[in-house]
Symmetry: C2
Subunit: 203 residues, 2 copies
């Protein structure tokens, strides 16, 4: 056994409930030693909110490192840093809406994220855009022409209005039988929820 | 098989990468059907940010429902709604810092969260405070007296300064060998990281 884990927590945080209650058992099972480190997270957050940009570099750096670790955990290749934010998010998502309507959305979404995160080609821009459409078995000229029309823009707006009406506030979100799950790290929970429904078990 | 899951996503969101890449396999394994629903999450977020309180009821409602589902998943009892936010967070955390110094922090933290989330007694207030200290084997009169001194306040401030210096921005956080993991849903990742180190495997 090497050094202990530091568990930093503030009483008052609702989500901290889940960590406080589960940590002893999970750590014990793994044979990992834990040092409990109470602090006042609210004081840090309040200070960070006083200067609106102060906390962003920290959180952004954390996000990329977290994505990197999770990708490694799941065996997903990626090469950071990648272009971010996207210069043309609208086109990327208009194509996705068209793809969803025509039935080739997963292939396109996976291809465009792979080109973005592995080849460092921004989604929504060339060469990513045409390559991803082609890999989904479609003709880039046709798709890009349709996505550039007013109808193409309106289809994305309509999807966004619908998302807003059902109370979504971020991506990715999963809705299973009216239950909202937010965040990539609720993927398994959402699938499990639906799976239990399909098996006739209460959620 | 009943209705499909709706997978709402926006190309441009970094974390969405992890969901797009993993969803097909996880859904397939569970025999769950997925409908891919692209939308513009940024448009919704930008609008919500224009009116600073507009998105909070949505997110707060989501948080409690999410905590409820996760508690059920892990077999943790709780009875929502509970008093929130806490009227006296400072005392709750000053006692925690003293407990950490004296070696009875886990017992106290678990007791106070249980009284808060199951008995609906606010942490940091009576009767939760004295009951939780007692359940951790300590004398409430002694502990509360020490926590109310200037030294008791300063000990919490010092812990918070240290947390800030190492770049923490929220509770709960885990630090394993210099790696920061943020959020109750990274508990397993943090433990696994340390466990692999202890086994001599690269993280």
């Amino acid at each position: 056994m090497t050094a202990p884990i530091d568990f930093w927590f503030s009483i008052g945080s609702p989500y901290t409930f889940l960590a406080v209650m589960r940590l002893p058992e999970v750590a014990e099972r793994a044979g990992v030693e834990v040092r409990w480190r109470p602090f006042d997270a609210y004081a840090i957050q309040a200070e960070a909110n006083d200067s609106p940009f102060a906390d962003k570099p920290l959180k952004a750096a954390y996000m990329w490192r977290d994505i990197e670790r999770r990708a490694a955990k799941f065996g997903l290749p990626l090469r950071l840093p990648i272009p971010y934010p996207l210069a043309d998010r609208a086109v990327a998502n208009r194509v996705a809406v068209l793809a969803a309507k025509e039935g080739w959305c997963p292939a396109y979404a996976i291809a465009t994220y792979r080109h973005w995160f592995v080849d460092r080609e921004a989604a929504g821009s060339e060469p990513n855009l045409s390559a991803s459409i082609k890999e989904a078995g479609q003709d880039p000229a046709r798709v890009l022409q349709q996505a550039s029309t007013a109808a193409g823009a309106e289809a994305l707006d309509a999807a966004t209005r619908e998302a807003k009406e059902i109370g979504l506030f971020g991506s990715p979100s999963f809705v299973a039988d009216g239950e909202l799950f937010w965040g990539h790290d609720r993927l398994e929970d959402a699938i499990e929820w639906q799976h239990n429904l399909d098996q006739g078990n209460p959620g």
